[in-house]
């Protein structure tokens, strides 16, 4: 074996957003040697961009809230395709996970009596999101980071993992490179936690950063783990649409939580025109009631702008398609109108939504306290991902765990806003805890050297490819165009079949992309290597979307516009790598809800 720099850990965590940091902190409490690898600098992971808040039934603002209500809301929002056990653990444990952040220095906004303030959000019956203005993610990642750096965790910043290493059936480590010099690093570990986030970079319009190339999904798939429900990609209804260079940047749901309303070019609040049966009893039927809800009136029902994200995104697309969109192909989101309702509205908006104010002012010359924003759907999140055990977060590969966005089960067909930050904390902790336990109970295993040399050769291939090979950025852009067009909000048999063909064609080209320059901090080379992951997850999303011949949650099929018949739609799509190295898919029925769960859902309806 060629010589590689090698690091030995009990637990290796890949990804340093909320889930990875929380997992690392937990694993480190066992006095184990913990390594944390991240693609960017510490504290820059995608969690930093989360805005609205973290969902936890603290019941600080409305004492009627409870874990049972949170559980029921999550299951309903996910169209009952979620793993109920995960939804239970999540609802029960997120309050403690939020409180614990405060013990690590986080400072959430306060209620009058000095406890953690909570705000309304789509799909949550009660004000449930602990928040800090609209920069909750920053507060969370900084609290975790500042606590984490004192726990003896070894951090490898700006390192990318390109392959997991297995010895027999068990995961035994990972192969990566560091950006600065492009040198390879071998990590051997008794247990590995994937916490790599999402896949947004497979699409052209996205709120996600360059890091979101589906690394964890792809690493797990190639290591033999299963991916579930990959068809459920969340298109957040409100991304910026103008100017073109900022298209896709997120506009927090918090704007609507604070009273923001959606209007079309005719000035109509179109969300009142289409309220799904499942939510009709909980939704206001007039603007005044909706306003009162956002102002904390406990008797009022929520405005239709706070329906689930999947539904709102579809309504916006409909308005635009039917010619009632805004000048740049979105709709209007108006928070300035609240000056009709409250004194000092401008100051109030700037205080509650400081980064939105800043973002529109600086990037679009729009003062949101004076005029409406133009917004439209943006690829934001993937509900599907690596299949894990609900309690331990272990995949079907022994020693391999996953948590956060790259894992799946909690959100079903659609995620509620605020349930991602809580997901990161609850299941990040669990993954760290069970990975540590696995490391304590199992001996380390030797790495398979042959496999490592093979990976090294593959990773260097873009330099060896002929100079006339494609530009990696060009292939990435082509993939994003195709995914946006064919596997976006509106899908069909035809578009998805074509998408799979396009992915195959691009795979051929990706094998031959050429990297110029040398191995030092070479973005072109890195982009070439990311293509492997992007193509794998793009194929998985298209294949799963083809398999589910119905429209449910975030997955919409033009050719099957309805949900499947009662009961028939209660399955998860499961993807795994076949023995022939091809992507295989099957359905598995969703586990029947226990009587207890059913009772909670009926009671909390």
């Amino acid at each position: 074996m060629a010589s590689y720099e090698t690091f030995e850990y009990d637990v290796l965590i890949i990804g340093a957003g909320g889930a990875g940091l929380r997992a690392a902190i937990e694993a480190a409490t066992e006095n184990l040697k913990v390594g944390l690898v991240c693609k960017s600098l510490l504290g820059k992971a995608h969690t930093v961009m989360a805005e609205g808040g973290v969902a936890a039934a603290l019941a600080n603002v409305d004492e009627r809230d409870s874990w049972r209500a949170h559980f029921a809301d999550t299951m309903k929002g996910g169209q009952y395709l979620s793993n109920a056990r995960m939804a239970e653990l999540h609802a029960k444990e997120s309050p403690d996970r939020v409180r614990e952040l405060e013990a690590w220095g986080a400072l959430f906004d306060r209620t009058q009596d000095g406890s953690i303030l909570q705000r309304n959000f789509g799909g949550h019956q009660y004000p449930r999101l602990a928040h800090v203005g609209d920069r909750t993610g920053l507060e969370m990642i900084r609290a975790l980071q500042d606590h984490g750096i004192h726990q003896g965790i070894e951090v490898h910043m700006e390192n990318t993992i390109v392959s997991l290493l297995k010895t027999g059936d068990r995961v035994s480590g990972a192969f990566g490179y560091e950006r600065e010099k492009g040198r390879f690093k071998i990590f051997s570990a008794k247990a590995v936690v994937l916490a790599t986030g999402g896949v947004g970079k497979a699409y052209k319009i996205t709120s996600n950063s360059w890091e979101y190339t589906g690394d964890g999904h792809s690493l797990a798939y190639h290591a033999g783990a299963e991916l579930i429900d990959m068809e459920f990609v969340q298109f957040h209804p409100t991304g910026m649409v103008w100017p073109p260079s900022v298209r896709g940047i997120l506009v927090t749901e918090g704007v609507r939580g604070e009273g923001g309303i959606l209007k079309n070019s005719e000035g109509n609040r179109f969300m009142f025109d289409d309220i799904p049966d499942l939510y009709v009893n909980q939704t206001a039927d007039n603007p005044e009631e909706g306003w009162l809800y956002t102002q904390g009136d406990r008797e009022a029902r929520r405005p239709p702008e706070l329906l689930t994200r999947d539904h709102i995104a579809r309504c916006i697309v409909r308005e635009v398609h039917e010619g009632r969109g805004s000048p740049h192909g979105g709709v209007f989101l108006d928070i300035a109108w609240i000056k009709e309702k409250i004194p000092n509205a401008q100051e109030h908006i700037r205080r509650k939504l400081p980064s939105m104010y800043h973002q529109f002012k600086e990037l679009a010359d729009i003062d949101i306290t004076e005029e409406p924003m133009e917004v439209g759907p943006t690829t934001h999140y993937i509900m599907g991902g690596i299949r894990v055990d609900a309690d331990s977060q272990m995949t079907c590969v022994p020693g391999l765990f996953a948590a956060g966005e790259c894992a799946a089960g909690l959100h079903g067909a659609n995620r509620l806003g605020g349930n991602s930050l809580s997901d990161l904390l609850v299941f990040g902790k669990r993954a760290g805890e069970y990975a540590a336990q696995f490391a304590l109970e199992n001996e380390g295993i030797a790495l398979e050297e042959g496999a490592i040399d093979e990976i090294a050769q593959h990773v260097l291939k873009p330099f060896d490819n002929p100079e006339e090979g494609d530009n990696p950025y060009e292939i990435q852009a082509q993939l994003q165009e195709k995914m946006q067009e064919l596997v976006g909000i509106a899908r069909s048999q035809e578009s998805l079949t074509q998408a799979l063909e396009e992915v195959q064609a691009l795979r051929g080209k990706a094998d031959n992309v050429h990297a110029i320059g040398n191995r030092e901090y070479n973005s072109g080379w890195h982009t070439a290597l990311d293509l492997d992951c992007l193509l794998t997850i793009s194929e998985a999303i298209a294949l799963a979307a083809l398999e589910r011949k119905a429209s449910i949650g975030a997955h919409s099929r033009d050719d099957f516009p309805e949900k499947e018949e009662q009961g028939a739609g209660k399955y998860n799509t499961i993807i795994h790598k076949s023995e022939e190295n091809t992507m295989a898919i099957r359905r598995e029925p969703v586990t029947e809800l226990t009587e207890e769960y059913q009772q909670i859902i009926e009671e909390m309806g």
Binding site: K44, G114, L117, E180, E211, E362, Y473, G517, N522
Partner: protein, 248 residues
């Protein structure tokens, strides 16, 4: 479509120079968009850090026409495009390659600082009660996105290279967020006075001017910390008072 020239710093610690790239520019573009377009079309191996592209992560710090900026928030509309726009790395840190600098020193500084140490919880459920008005000013400090632009412009670091004796504005803001935190019990004043070198700051407010989060670093963080240091170590009356009251 209009074209503009970007004069970008290319190279590493051993050898580097400005290279001109002409590229198309369109409405609403920011400097980072132009750099990305150049990277995708003309210079695949161009090194640049970025993540959120919305001023929230603090990754894409650089010097644009000599001014320390987040490239993602620097609109081309606000720059004269009739002459080349210069884009170069932060100069207070060692260069790695092109626009990427070695900022690891910042992470080491933070690790050495005394962590948050809360008093016992106020309530049985392990939580604390804090008034919003008592945390407003701490929340201002916690807006920091660690872009390190304040470190980049601080002459104590940039010109005098006192990285071993001075932690820089970012970490005074961090220290202030801990020292003024209503439930923190640790005392960091001795470190601030000695190894952190707060005395080197002569309040020229360069850091405050460049902060993309508009944190009033000098007035709200550094000056109050300086006052606390003076109170603890130099005020004879307070010193006497502490002796008699038994407070350390």
């Amino acid at each position: 479509m209009a074209k503009a020239t970007f004069r970008i710093w290319r190279g590493d610690a051993d050898e580097a120079q400005f290279v001109d790239y002409e590229t198309e520019v369109s409405e609403g573009m920011v400097v980072l968009d132009a750099v990305h377009r150049i990277q995708a079309e003309q210079a695949n191996d161009l090194a640049v850090r970025w993540n959120c592209k919305a001023g929230k992560c603090g990754s894409c710090s650089a010097e644009v026409n000599g001014n320390p900026k987040l490239m993602c928030m620097m609109r081309l509309n606000d720059l004269p495009l009739d002459k080349p726009v210069t884009v170069e790395p932060m100069r207070a840190f060692p260069i790695i390659k092109d626009l990427v600098t070695d900022v690891s020193w910042n992470f080491k500084v933070k690790e050495k600082m005394k962590p948050f140490t809360p008093r016992p919880p106020d309530a049985e459920d392990g939580t604390w009660r804090m008034e919003q008005e008592d945390i407003d000013h701490i929340q201002e400090f916690r807006k920091c996105i660690e872009c390190f632009l304040c470190q980049d412009v601080c002459h104590v670091l940039r010109e005098h290279d006192l990285h071993d004796e001075f932690i820089g504005p970012r970490f005074f803001v961090y220290a202030a967020s801990l020292e003024m935190h209503p439930i923190d019990t640790e005392n960091r004043l001795e470190e601030l006075k000695n190894e952190d070198g707060i005395g080197y700051c002569n309040i020229t407010k360069c850091c405050t001017k460049v902060c993309p989060e508009h944190i009033t670093i000098t007035d709200n963080a550094i000056i109050p910390l300086k006052e606390r240091v003076v109170d603890q170590f130099y005020d004879p009356i307070k010193k006497l008072f502490r002796v008699f009251s038994g407070k350390a």
